[in-house]
């Protein structure tokens, strides 16, 4: 009980929460990226993978609730810490930082990514919500695609087995209007291709992924510090590694809409 109190009621404890839930969410970001990259392996690979995920049933719900809990805790402690920090800082110094040794300015002023964690984080959260509505809840009004069937991702299903008439498993779409949630496999591949053919959807996506990259470039190294696992011997490696991973994640995620817009994935 004291352990729980010591974690939730102190600033250090809340930083542990930030770090651990952040690490968990980072795990999801990696897994999600690897899954998404299957789009380059063709419709069969992506749709089959999606079907397997859906068939996990209760396990899928455990993962979903776990993610929701981690995101909730991450946001809760972020808001709480930010409020406390604002109160603690109060009225700040008014002049611009101008040290007598000019070159030390960059060391003294907090970097952009560190200063804007709460903003990048909240925008990413808002995007995640939109992204869920777009592809998971399949709200037709927000995907920017017109047409009764094409615009409604609820109608995107594929044949799961090879059949007559040149049907290929997980590739051939079911005739529009047929197929139902839970009974047929979703045509995720077509959702991705049609979804990312809308330029403003891609615009949102690029901005959100860019902010995720900024957020991770600080967060991935700061979590080691918060958990007491950083020092000057290998701290530089952690800092560089965080930036490199953030850029790789940016490139990985961005490659999908770029490939769709370029007509490479269709």
């Amino acid at each position: 009980m004291n352990l729980i109190k010591g974690i939730f009621n102190t600033s250090l404890g809340r930083k542990y929460i930030m770090a651990i839930t952040g690490a968990g969410l980072f795990g999801f970001i990696i897994a999600h990226l690897l899954g998404n990259l299957l789009v380059f392996a063709g419709p069969a690979a992506l749709n089959e993978y999606a079907k397997k995920l859906h068939d996990l049933g209760p396990l899928l719900w455990v993962a979903r609730l776990g993610l929701l809990a981690m995101a909730g805790l991450h946001i809760w402690s972020a808001l709480k810490l930010t409020t406390e920090n604002r109160e603690a800082a109060g009225k700040r110094h008014e002049v611009k930082v101008d040290p007598v040794d000019r070159h030390r300015r960059d060391d003294i002023v907090a970097r952009f990514a560190a200063r804007t964690m709460i903003f990048s984080g909240l925008i990413i959260a808002a995007f995640a919500f939109y992204h869920l509505a777009h592809y998971t809840w399949k709200v037709p009004q927000i995907n920017g695609i017109s047409g009764e069937f094409k615009g409604d991702f609820e109608t995107y299903y594929v044949h799961e087995v090879d059949g007559d008439n040149n049907q290929t498993a997980f590739v051939t779409p079911l005739p529009q209007g047929e197929g139902a949630e839970g009974e047929n496999a979703s045509d995720v591949y077509r959702m991705v291709v049609n979804g990312f053919n809308v330029s403003w959807v891609v615009g949102f996506y690029v901005v959100a992924i860019g902010l995720l990259c900024v957020h991770l470039s600080h967060g991935l190294s700061a979590m080691f510090q918060s958990l007491g696992m950083k020092n000057k011997n290998y701290g530089k490696w952690i800092d560089c590694g965080a930036k490199a991973v953030a850029i790789l994640i940016f490139l990985g995620y961005i490659s999908i809409p770029v490939a769709v817009l370029a007509g490479f994935v269709k």
Partner: protein, 254 residues
């Protein structure tokens, strides 16, 4: 004698804690480049005295960089921004003729301004009183090597013990966090044998007190380390994060 400088000062003046305060401008004429920053302020104050005006109140004591009294933000940087230097050890040769220098007190909710550049830093004392000490008498000087301390640990403990509690870390931090100060104090005693019996209690009590006093938390920006006149390393914050976590598991409560 060095060169002479004529400067403009923009100084924060505040009559008491409740006063809202304002910047006032002063001329600092004929400042020798060999003077320290505080000696420059002494010269300006003499002028103000002669004119029958209220001199600028600022803290100072040892004027050799070890007491941690001088607390002023010079051009937006605590202690002025020379590496490993307190304001009293900052020389006027770093400034150029005709320059405007802005001087402000530390700004943080936990450090209320008492007057002009003087802030109340007793919050640090109260954190220290919460556990930054060894409560048993350790006796007179022991025989050499009676209590073996590995050289690496002694060095690290000494690095941490260099903290003079000036509060520049709090003033530099965007969150007004006292993590670097508390980390130095917690680490210092946790590294030597004399500090072991109260190790967990100390970490828990000092962190709790730090939060109570209304300091912010750490965003790992590194600003504190960059302005620290004793160059206390950010590594000590990681060490304290570890100490606190272990103490929570081992002891749980103060």
């Amino acid at each position: 004698m060095g060169k002479e400088l004529n400067l403009k000062l923009k100084v924060w003046r505040q009559d008491n804690t409740d006063d809202s305060g304002r910047f006032e401008e002063y001329d600092a004429k004929g400042i020798d480049t060999d003077m320290s920053f505080l000696e420059m302020l002494d010269v300006v104050n003499e002028g103000l005295n002669e004119d029958g005006k209220e001199p600028i109140a600022f803290d100072s004591d040892c004027r050799e960089g070890i007491c941690g009294s001088c607390s002023m933000v010079i051009n937006g940087v605590p202690h002025g921004g020379q590496q490993g230097t307190t304001a009293c050890q900052l020389h006027m040769r770093h400034f150029s003729d005709g320059m405007t220098i802005t001087i402000e007190p530390w700004r943080a909710s936990a450090f209320p301004v008492q007057r002009d550049l003087v802030v109340d830093r007793t919050a640090f004392d109260r954190i220290q009183q919460a556990g930054g000490f060894v409560s048993v008498r350790t006796g007179s000087v022991p025989d050499a090597n009676a209590t073996p301390v590995p050289k690496e640990d002694a060095d690290l403990a000494m690095d941490a013990a260099q903290c003079i509690g000036c509060g520049a870390c709090v003033a530099a931090c965007k969150n007004a966090s006292a993590m670097l100060f508390v980390a130095a104090k917690v680490s210092h005693l946790s590294l030597v044998p004399q500090g072991q019996p109260e190790r967990e209690r100390r970490a828990l009590a000092m962190v709790q007190k730090m939060d109570e006093e209304g300091f912010g938390s750490c965003t790992v920006t590194g600003s504190c380390e960059a302005v620290c006149p004793k160059q206390i390393s950010l590594d000590f914050i990681a060490r304290m994060n570890r100490e606190y976590g272990c103490a929570l598991i081992k002891k749980g409560t103060v």
